[in-house]
Symmetry: C2
């Protein structure tokens, strides 16, 4: 994010339904990860004034959205998805230029369809309404549901320019589905992509008649303004996906004033391959994990950063197979200069802490943001001596093999791990690992949001049963997920109870008549799609 | 809580299934609020060692509880409720002596049955299992539910010696129902009551074969040890009911290390009486609110601390009626010396900030912890000039009338209020207030957890539809409630997802077969009490 202080034409920010000149403290340009060269126009780093204007507009939009028809929210989300499809070529080309992710299949066949799919799932959930978790107690005439919380700020990460973008991704879709306006803080590594997305979001807002400030976007902020934004009285809640350092700063600011903040931060996503599985199908698993580790240059939130094995000849073959696969695969550019620098620093620190380089371990020559596909290795005993330094996420195309002496030691290692999004256990199909599985699984279970069997963690299905969350510090709270409609929507809701409120004044979802005949409601202890009996 | 440093026999703490000598830094005795005299034996202020031992024991207990039969948890909760009933006379007598709350009806006919009722509702929820919110995606074979989070620390308040007691109340019941061990921090204003409760809890643990350290209790702690307790790595989550000052300190400590903490803190519970309701039935409402304000000497979490009226002759009559009722009712002792001092200080500060004393406003002579039933009054304009000082909870038998110039000003006042547990709106049955209601209700709705019509907020029904929560600073998060099974249980759970996990390794709740035929589960998008189809 090279800064330019001089006066020049700059892209505009989206505030209150208009693309406006930013109150800018400076500007920056995107960089092509393949060349390291600045590309595209200059984008503003907003001063606080832009946040202030956006917060005022969002506050007004939220008032207008009160009691809005669920159908209208659904229509917006669907229109937005359709708009993205119409503009797919331009979006994919822009994202490819700013991120160096492959246009095909990754951006056009995988990530964009996933993004439009999320928007449509959110639309369906908003229309159907069950996410509100309506509970009706007819005897006491007390009725409760989850209701929109107010203006939501979403900070998008660098690694999914569409699917986690602050103006289009999962947090955005969930916050809107709940009925909230969103102020997106775009990630500065793909500002052009964010601009194109925001243009389509704004178009959809106009096409479907939502308040103009339902979607707003700024590109970059000084750190202190980010802290101010999440803790401003007008902000109701924040969604953040990104680095631990940034997330924890924002968390502290939001916590101090009691504002909900949902964070998805770092995760090393341990994978444990039990001894008999190594014997039975070590080579297959090694190839599968190598693919998983290098997917998107290892810049997936659930990329396996730690492979935990137990000493044996098969474990050595496993490492050799993974090493060959890492060496055979060309390294892909990382998403940003900062990402390259961070990976390089992390690997150096891990080596400094005692990890050995099996392959890779250095930046590639040239201007591209490329780092060698890297495997590090450390013994279980060494890991246990310094988990606080060796349990570090090296975000990118690097992973660390931890070679435990035996399953006992492997279990100890798991018991010393911090919270993670995922943990995977490979065990023999023969059942020969079952006793070891039964010892390892509870320890791993306690430390992860999603426990996998015999499967790499990098596929995050957009399923109602998905948990893309986990214990701290992988997120800020182990009871929420950022992927998985409808549960993800709850993050951006407050629990609204109505006690003895006159029937006609109740929100439609809480009235005796089921508002759409599809919403599941808990009425006197039973789930039903019907009306309150006798009504 | 008078401290005694000399060596003498002291009550024991409940750790790891035994009543043990405390590692005490000092001791304290309860005080009779009617006489101000110390009563009963000396109780220990625990040093950190006691917390450390309790945390280790809870950690082991939690391991044993893994995969426990739901029935066993339910049996414990029911046995405990039954034990309390058998020992009702002793419990009521002890609580009456320590709190001066009436033995009858309050303690024996209301609060104890409520407490046993909560335990039985929690038992039913644990047994039935729907609280786990099971979501099964058969196509992807991903399955998720809420699972126990780990050792839970519960800090009980002074105002409900049974129903919110750390070792017997709502947070305790919810944490146990989820499958967690509890470390209770009893409130030092009723240590004998807490001891009797804990004895019955321990008996029930033994009767039903739960791990001995499922329930543990200490009486008092230095502030710094409380902070250490909620942020210890072995603590999974904390429930706290009490003062803002204490709650916010604990919140900061827990937040800093990403530990969930659920707080119920102060709330002024505004009641708005609209103009036509004042005309139509002002006197009735005034009497109803006076009763609500003085219930339990005004020491209910939902006691109305602010009555918002609009200027009119009827409003003056309303104040006169409330004043007569406050003056006619004998003042009851407050729960503790500290509570008396706090109320006295708060009233003085409110008067210092411009509130006028309508009646009361001073401590009563004598040794009892009695304060005059007190009504303060301030104009809407004055309130709007200093909401930060006038929006103060004077916990106890004091309330403040805010007299707004008109409904516009009343609305402004509501818009300047902080988060509260409840907000009540009285409007005319004739419909003459409806336009004003429609303006006021959204503003109030945004600031409270429970919105009431034509009803005082002090009745908190233990209903699945109850929300005993609200926006910050009344609690720490607007999406959770501390009363209302099963929703209250979610606070003490983490979201556990199983991805491709082999069928026999899944928790019973997630297996194809519905484990008890009563648990509601969302299977491929539909709620069902059946098995997964085809299984």
């Amino acid at each position: 994010m090279p800064m330019h202080k001089e006066e020049r034409a700059m892209e505009k920010v989206l505030i209150a339904g208009e693309w406006r000149e930013a109150h800018a403290s400076g500007g920056f340009r995107a960089e092509d990860p393949k060349t390291g060269q600045a590309i595209g126009p200059e984008y503003p780093v907003s001063r606080w004034e832009d946040c202030d204007l956006a917060l005022n507009a969002a506050t007004e939009a939220f008032k207008e959205m009160r009691g809005i028809e669920l159908e209208k929210i659904a229509a917006f989300l669907e229109q937005y998805a359709a708009n993205l499809e119409v503009n797919a070529d331009a979006l994919v080309a822009m994202a490819a230029s700013e991120t160096a992710l492959p246009a095909s299949p990754r951006l056009s066949q995988v990530e964009l369809p996933r993004t439009t799919g999320q928007l449509r799932q959110a639309a369906a959930a908003a229309r159907e309404g069950s996410w509100q978790n309506v509970v009706i107690d007819t005897k006491n005439n007390i009725r409760t549901h989850f209701a929109p919380i107010g203006p939501v700020v979403v900070f998008g990460p660098n690694n999914f320019p569409f699917a986690f973008n602050g103006i289009a991704g999962g947090d955005f879709a969930a916050a809107i589905a709940a009925g909230n306006p969103v102020i997106a803080k775009a990630h500065p590594s793909h500002p052009g992509t964010s601009r194109l997305l925001a243009e389509q979001a704004l178009a959809a807002v106009k096409q479907t008649g939502l308040p103009a400030a339902t979607v707003q976007m700024i590109y970059a902020l000084a750190n202190e303004d980010g802290l101010r934004l999440v803790s401003d009285p007008r902000t109701a809640a924040t969604g953040f996906t990104g680095s631990s350092a940034g997330g924890l700063r924002l968390k502290a600011a939001a916590d101090a004033v009691g504002k909900p903040i949902y964070l998805e931060m770092s995760s090393i996503n341990p994978v444990v391959v039990l001894p008999a599985a190594l014997q039975e199908r070590g080579e297959t698993i090694a190839r599968e994990l190598a693919t998983s580790c290098l997917m998107g240059s290892g810049q997936f939130c659930t990329s396996p950063n730690m492979i935990l094995l137990t000493q044996s000849p098969e474990a050595e073959s496993f490492v050799a197979t993974m090493t060959s696969a890492f060496e055979a695969a060309p390294s892909q550019p990382l998403l940003s200069r900062g990402g390259l620098e961070h990976l390089s620093k992390c690997v150096d620190e891990l080596v400094g802490a005692g990890a050995k380089v099996v392959t890779g371990g250095k930046r590639e020559p040239g201007a591209a943001f490329c780092y060698d596909n890297t495997i590090l290795r450390v013994s279980g005993a060494d890991w246990l001596e310094a988990p606080e330094t060796l349990e570090k996420e090296a975000f990118g195309n690097a992973t660390m093999v931890v070679m435990a002496k035996n399953v006992d030691e492997a279990q100890q290692i798991v018991e010393h791990m911090e919270g993670n999004l995922t943990g995977a256990l490979y065990s023999a199909n023969s059942g020969a690992d079952d006793a070891d599985y039964d010892r390892m699984a509870p320890a791993l279970r306690a430390r992860v949001g999603r426990l996998l069997n015999d499967k790499a963690p990098t596929g995050v299905a957009v399923s109602p049963a998905m948990n893309h969350g986990g214990p701290y510090p992988s997120t800020g709270h182990p009871g929420f997920t950022s992927v998985g409609i409808p549960v993800a929507i709850h993050r951006f809701a407050k629990l609204d109870c109505y006690d003895n409120v006159r029937a006609h004044r109740l929100p439609k979802a809480l009235q005796d008549k089921n508002p759409n005949g599809t919403m599941w409601r808990s009425i006197d202890g039973s789930w039903s799609r019907g009306d309150v009996a006798g009504s």
